[in-house]
């Protein structure tokens, strides 16, 4: 995902609150991107040899090298950043469908908070690498932990990214409206929502119950 390379150095304050807001949203989006990459790797949607270890913020993270996937993710993520800044995004959902039966097997849902009042300098202006690392690690840890109880994906699958936005939003060119793509009779697991200094991210994963057992 890091085709749009985020700056690995510490974020230093520049003074304007817009910049701060930008960087906050940037970080949220970056977290989401890392999370998506780790989900794709852990669930085996793409073969593990297409992922490389890249160092960002002194952490070694897995990112995909597939060019089509990279371009797709950059498109989505850039649009998401715009929408985040306008505070029109409510949720980001990663849907995994089975190609044979066209059924939705898994659904990862991230609730994104757009707190318009959080523009004061209540948060420290300088975000050290440690806090960023902590955030990234917590996301990836949760995802890795959920893999232990999620059922195996034996059939070939593909994934899709859905964005829940406000109704009165102008739909850009390459985007179209889609259904919520919910699972029929799912098992739901709420992930431990982690708090950063700015916002609270609620995440949960829903998966189709396996017919055996």
């Amino acid at each position: 995902v890091c085709a749009w390379h985020p700056c690995p150095s510490t974020e230093t304050a520049l003074g304007s609150s817009d910049n701060l807001e930008h960087r906050r949203k940037d970080r949220q989006v970056r977290l989401a991107a890392f999370g998506i990459n780790s989900i794709l790797y852990q669930r085996g949607i793409y073969p593990p040899e297409t992922f490389t270890r890249v160092t960002h913020y002194d952490l070694s993270l897995l990112l995909t090298t597939d060019p089509k996937l990279k371009s797709y993710l950059t498109n989505v993520v850039s649009q998401l950043k715009e929408w985040l800044f306008e505070c029109t995004v409510q949720k980001l959902v990663l849907v995994i469908t089975c190609l044979e039966t066209n059924e939705v097997l898994e659904r990862w849902q991230f609730d994104i908070e757009c707190d318009k009042s959080a523009k004061e300098s209540s948060a420290p202006r300088e975000k050290s690498i440690k806090t960023i690392q902590h955030e990234i690690r917590s996301v990836i840890r949760q995802i890795t932990a959920t893999v232990t109880f999620l059922p195996l994906l034996e059939t070939p699958c593909a994934f899709d990214l859905l964005v829940y936005t406000d109704k009165d939003l102008v739909v850009p060119d390459k985007w179209e409206e889609s259904g919520p793509q919910t699972i029929d009779q799912p098992e739901e697991v709420r992930l431990h929502s982690f708090t950063t200094s700015i916002h609270k991210v609620n995440s949960m994963v829903a998966y189709k119950k396996t017919e055996s057992a």
Binding site: V76, P156, Y164, V171, K174, E177
Partner: protein
């Protein structure tokens, strides 16, 4: 009593009714016997009845009214009871309120006292505030004055600093001049010292020179003697050299002599060599001459060398430019040179000593310089320290003067403040404030009292209301209203709870749906990229599936065609078999083979046709030409039927034997041709003749018959 009343009423009514009905009967019976008296009696009776009815009615009414009255009394009692209760309650409430009132009054009093205290404190604090403000003002004034003074002092300081700077600069200039002059002095002194030292040295040198000269003369004499000795020694040396050389030559000559003697002896001994004696003698003479010549040349050489030396000595004199003709001149020259050398060495020594002394003096001077420098630095530091001290002291003086002035000013201000003209407005202000506070508290008191009176009035009105209640209907209505309202409240509460539960359930459901991903279509929208991986994957999958299907159909057709491929090869169809039109790479050989097969089969067919045709032609020709149709019945058996045969079954059978000869078989026809058989076959042993005979015979038969 009521019931008795009722029964009496009912009985009276019954009796009345019966009475009314009875006279009707007799009325009917006795219609005819009626007269005016009966009518009157009837009328009277009716009137009496009416009166009785009226009386009964009135009794009823009276009874009803009694009942009502009793009911009213009961209700009245009840109302009175309740009223008394209410009155007692209200009395109790009154008492309570009165107590409360008293309490409130007590509280009010306490509050008032507290307010007064607070006011007093306020006033005191205000006084203190005012005093402090005055102090502040005084201090501000003093501060301002001090600031002014500070400003002026700063200005003076600045001017003084400038002056100081200028003075310092002057001092520095003068110091520099002084230093320059001292340096000059020092230089001059040094020069003087140098000169003095030079003079001393020169004097020393003179003395030393004189001593040296005396010694020199002594030395010269010694040298002369030594030189003479040297000369003698050199001559001796030369002689010795020549002698040495000669002596060195002696062994050679002795060797030569020995050799010559040996030769002579040899020659002498040898008589044969007498003849060569003359030669030898001539050789000897020649050698002697050579010897003589060699000696001459040697002498000449020696002379030459001597002359050369002389020349050299002379040349020396010419080369050195000195007046040298004899070695005495040389010696003189040498002496002079040596003297010069000595003099130069002496000069060298003196110069070295001078240099050393100068260096010593220089080092001493440098040490003195450093000492002077350090001394100057120390003096400068001392001066600076003293300047600082001076400044500090000046500052202290200034501060003290300022303090003194300030204190004086404070004192003056305090003295001035005590003038009464500045004091009264503050007092009046305070008075006004106190009055305001007083007014406020008074108004507050008045309000409280008004509230109290209101409360009292309300209790009074309540009492009056309770006392003046006469209509039970009001109370009833009030009670009914209350009851109704209470019921309504309960209903509403129950509904509220129900609605709350429903709300909770719905919220849970909503949350669950939210978890599952539902959204409110009015507010939110779900978007995704058109070219997302799932769509792409689905498309690819579909394409794959379609491709696979196409391949499957194609393969099925192939298989079918392969299965039916064997049957197609034998028939001579020109129809294009779909399998032949396919160009599968691995079955090219098969196709070629098939083609070959087809072509060969076609060829075969054509050949067969041709053969058949040809055979048919040949047979017909044979039949026509020979007149016999030859058929092969079985192996090696030939049946011939003639053209002119009378019956269809008339035929001759021939069999091919093992050796290849044809033999006629018995047939019915052949039995009739016994003669010919015997003639042609047995005698002539020719089948063609037999056959031709048979045809002729048959032909003749046919034509005749």
């Amino acid at each position: 009593m009521d019931l008795e009343d009722d029964t009496t009423i009912l009985t009276t009514l019954k009796s009345f009714n019966s009475f009314i009905s009875r006279p009707e009967h007799p009325q009917r019976l006795s219609e005819h016997s009626a007269g005016s008296g009966i009518l009157q009696s009837q009328y009277k009776r009716s009137m009496e009845l009416l009166e009785a009815a009226e009386r009964v009615h009135s009794k009823n009414r009276y009874l009803q009214l009694d009942q009502e009255k009793k009911q009213m009394e009961l209700s009245h009692k009840r109302a009175r009871f309740e009223l008394e209760r209410a009155a007692s309650d209200s009395a109790r409430d009154l008492e309570h309120e009165v107590d409360r009132n008293q309490e409130l009054l007590g509280q009010i009093k306490k509050l008032e006292e507290r307010a007064e205290e607070v006011n007093k404190k306020l006033t005191e604090q205000k006084e203190a505030n005012d005093a402090l403000q005055k102090n502040l003002e005084g201090l501000n004034k003093t501060l301002e004055e001090r600031d002014d003074k500070l400003g002026t002092a700063n200005q003076t300081i600045r001017s003084l600093k400038d002056e100081i700077r200028e003075l310092r600069q002057k001092i520095q200039n003068q110091d520099s001049k002084m230093s320059a002059q001292t340096l000059e002095n020092q230089e001059l002194q040094e020069k003087i010292d140098l000169q003095q030292r030079k003079y001393q040295e020169v004097s020393q040198l003179c003395q030393s020179l004189q001593a040296a000269q005396s010694s020199c003369s002594d030395h010269i004499i010694k040298i002369k003697e030594l030189e003479r000795r040297l000369v003698f020694q050199e001559q001796d040396f030369a002689i010795v050299k020549t002698v040495k050389s000669e002596v060195a030559r002696v062994p050679d000559l002795e060797k030569e002599l020995k050799r010559l003697r040996d030769d002579n002896a040899y020659l002498r001994l040898n008589t044969f060599l007498k003849e060569n004696c003359s030669l030898l003698k001539e050789e000897v003479e020649g050698l002697r001459k050579k010897l003589e010549r060699m000696e001459k040349t040697k002498e000449e050489l020696i002379n030459m060398e001597l002359e050369k030396e002389l020349h050299a000595w002379e040349n020396l004199g010419q080369s050195t430019g000195l007046n040298i003709r004899k070695p005495e001149d040389l010696s003189r020259e040498v002496i002079q040179i040596q003297q010069r050398e000595i003099a130069l060495k002496e000069q060298n020594y003196t110069l070295n000593s001078r240099v050393r002394s100068v260096e010593r003096s220089q080092s001493e001077l440098r040490a003195e310089l450093t000492q002077q420098h350090s001394k100057t630095l120390e003096e400068q530091k001392k001066r600076e320290a003293q300047d600082a001290l001076v400044r500090r002291l000046q500052k202290r003086v200034l501060l003290l003067t300022k303090e003194r002035d300030g204190m004086r000013a404070i004192l003056e201000s305090y003295d001035s403040e005590l003038a009464p003209t500045e004091y009264s407005p503050q007092l009046s202000k305070r008075l006004r404030e106190a009055e305001d506070i007083l007014l406020k508290t008074q108004s507050h008191n008045a309000e409280m009292e008004a509230q109290l009176t209101k409360a009292q009035e309300e209790t009074g009105t309540l009492k009056l209301q309770l006392q003046t209640v006469s209509e039970p209907a009001l109370l009833n209505s009030v009670c009914a209203c209350i009851f109704f309202l209470r019921q309504k409240i309960e209903d509403l509460e129950r509904e509220r709870q129900r609605l709350e539960e429903q709300n909770n359930i719905l919220e849970m459901r909503l949350e669950r749906h939210n978890l599952q991903g539902d959204y409110d279509p009015v507010k939110t929208r779900v978007l995704h990229l058109k070219m997302n991986p799932t769509a792409i994957a689905k498309q690819e999958r579909q394409q794959e599936v379609e491709a696979l299907r196409q391949e499957v159909t194609r393969l099925r057709d192939l298989v079918r065609s392969l299965q039916s491929g064997g049957a197609v090869g034998h028939s001579q169809d020109d129809t294009h078999n779909p399998s032949f039109s396919l160009s599968l790479a691995p079955s090219k050989e098969v196709l070629d083979l098939r083609k070959q097969m087809e072509s060969s089969e076609l060829r075969n067919q054509r050949l067969k046709e041709v053969f058949q045709r040809k055979i048919q032609e040949f047979r017909t020709v044979c039949y026509v030409l020979t007149g016999y149709q030859i058929d092969i019945t079985t192996e090696n058996q030939y049946r011939l039927t003639s053209v002119y045969a009378e019956h269809m079954d008339d035929s001759l059978l021939f069999k091919k034997g093992s050796n290849g000869s044809m033999q006629l078989m018995e047939t019915e026809f052949s039995k009739t041709l016994g003669e010919m058989v015997a003639l042609h076959l047995h005698h002539q042993k020719s089948i063609p003749a037999f056959l031709s005979a048979v045809t002729l015979d048959l032909f003749s038969r046919q034509t005749t018959v």
